[in-house]
């Protein structure tokens, strides 16, 4: 799925990465706790999160995640947009909740995301 298609599905506002609309993504991870992202993510995923602070962008950068979607109608602050731009990252905002945003992407065919066995 391209970032362009994802933007349409999520009716998202683009805060950063307008030039990367043709970037292909094949997996997603929805999380608000960044250590869970670091424990779980193996692939190059889209990160859907309700966390709007620099740590969300920093975590994404360390994990080589190129696309971050802020859910639940949250807008990024200027410092977060600047960080995303500096790191060449796509940053989107959607009005949908985490559940609905993930559901819409899944329904549209984005199925990858990995499984972690119960400890």
């Amino acid at each position: 799925m391209t970032v362009r298609r994802m933007t349409e599905i999520l009716e998202a506002r683009i805060a950063s990465g307008e030039d990367q609309m043709d970037l292909e993504v094949s997996a997603a991870c929805g999380a608000d706790l960044m250590s869970d992202v670091m424990a779980f993510v193996k692939e190059k995923v889209v990160l859907l999160t309700g966390l709007v602070n620099p740590q969300a962008i920093r975590t994404a950068d360390l994990m080589d995640i190129r696309v971050v979607v802020l859910v639940r109608g949250k807008s990024p602050t200027e410092d977060i947009v600047a960080m995303a731009r500096e790191n060449g990252m796509v940053l989107l905002s959607t009005k949908y909740s985490m559940f609905l945003a993930c559901g819409r992407l899944y329904e549209a065919g984005l199925r990858g995301g990995g499984i972690r066995e119960i400890a």
């Binding site: 250590s35 670091m38 999160t49 966390l51 975590t59």
Partner: protein, 136 residues
Amino acid sequence: MKLKFEVGDEDFSLAGRASSELKGVLKRLGIGPDLVRRASIAMYEGEINMVIHAGGGVAEAEIEADRVVLTLIDAGPGIPDLSLAMTEGWSTAPDRFRELGFGAGMGLPNMRRNCDEFDIESEVGKGTSVRMVIRL
């Protein structure tokens, strides 16, 4: 090459600067992306831990030909039960850090998972030191 970082406790938004800088240096040295990611995550979780639990500390990265050695030392309250602290999902982080995206109880397990050697020493009332080795 040796990098040294003072990790402060004043501003949570600044936590992670050491790991970002480490990542940049390792990338410039041509080290593979998987190793860079592992070293950066180990350092980042360590930094976050020091900010949340110890009021800051000192983080060092020694980059050698065949390994990266990360050392994190703080003078915080120490960890009373290390085996409990190493359990996935067990957290003593205050709720305000959960609102900031941390406190999942995955910090120390993530650090151990991402390195080849992991040593932790902690004394209640004195502080904690962690040494992690990532073989290149």
